[in-house]
Amino acid sequence: MQIYLVDGTYELFRAHFGYPSRKTKQGKEVGALKGYVNHLQSLKKNYEYIGVAFDSKVESFRNEIYNEYKSSKNIDKEILDQFPLAEKVTELLGLTLLSMDHYEADDAIASVCELFKNENVEIIIGSLDKDLMQCLNVNNISCTPLGINLLQQEMMFIKNLEYILIKYQIFSLLLVILLMAFQV
């Protein structure tokens, strides 16, 4: 049995920078949301158990211990406005949402790993965030560079050749980082 854990916030940002801009007739930016939905739908085809962690509020307990910790102040409003929509569509698509206040998505993912670390279940973390490498000290947990199949599916939506080139470069870079992290 496999559980796939998604850092929803990370995915929404990834979609924001990786997908073309898209606006509704009313002028609302939804490019990131579209990319995010595509990603979740791809995951649904491959996994039966999925948890999506989301830290919509951005600010967490870490801001209390360090003033200069990342906050929503410097985040583009266009993407911030898509956070609640992404949370909503996650549930509408029938996925389990791990929504939280005071913590970050990474903490929720680590907590799920901690919970199931001795269970007969394989946990796949769909993120290459270096902080999440802390979860990899147990045998049944792994990280994935988002999967080649997913990348190919996503590319169908990106017609601009430049985007494809950038994505391949990012993918190669992520792969090198992953290999270095595992000291292969």
């Binding site: 939804v30 870490r62 509408l92 029938g94 907590s111 802390q134």
Partner: protein, 95 residues
């Protein structure tokens, strides 16, 4: 830490596992590594900052998350609501 590179940091971590042990053994390792005296001084002077950054980067394991595997299984999607959502934001979601 300023002046302490990846090589020195991983060397010390391999030997002492964490920053607390590195700090407690300053006097042992400072004579055994290159520029040890300078590095030991940097760590001594910035120990509180080091602990702060460690607490910021350490993931918490006590977030309240669903406790059973079944709670993570895909549930029936809300087709009526999803259709409305898709139309409202013109997302062309296929389901």
């Amino acid at each position: 830490m300023n002046g302490i590179g990846e090589k020195t940091a991983s060397l010390l971590l391999q030997e002492y596992e964490n920053i607390e042990n590195i700090y407690q053994n300053l006097n042992t390792w400072k004579n055994n590594i290159r520029s040890g005296e300078r590095h030991a001084n940097t760590i001594f002077e910035n120990y509180e900052l080091l602990k702060l950054f460690k607490s910021l980067t350490t993931l918490r394991l006590d977030v309240k998350v669903p406790k059973t595997i079944e709670k993570y299984s895909l549930s029936q999607l809300s087709s009526v609501e999803l259709k409305k959502f898709s139309e409202k934001y013109q997302l062309n979601i296929s389901f």
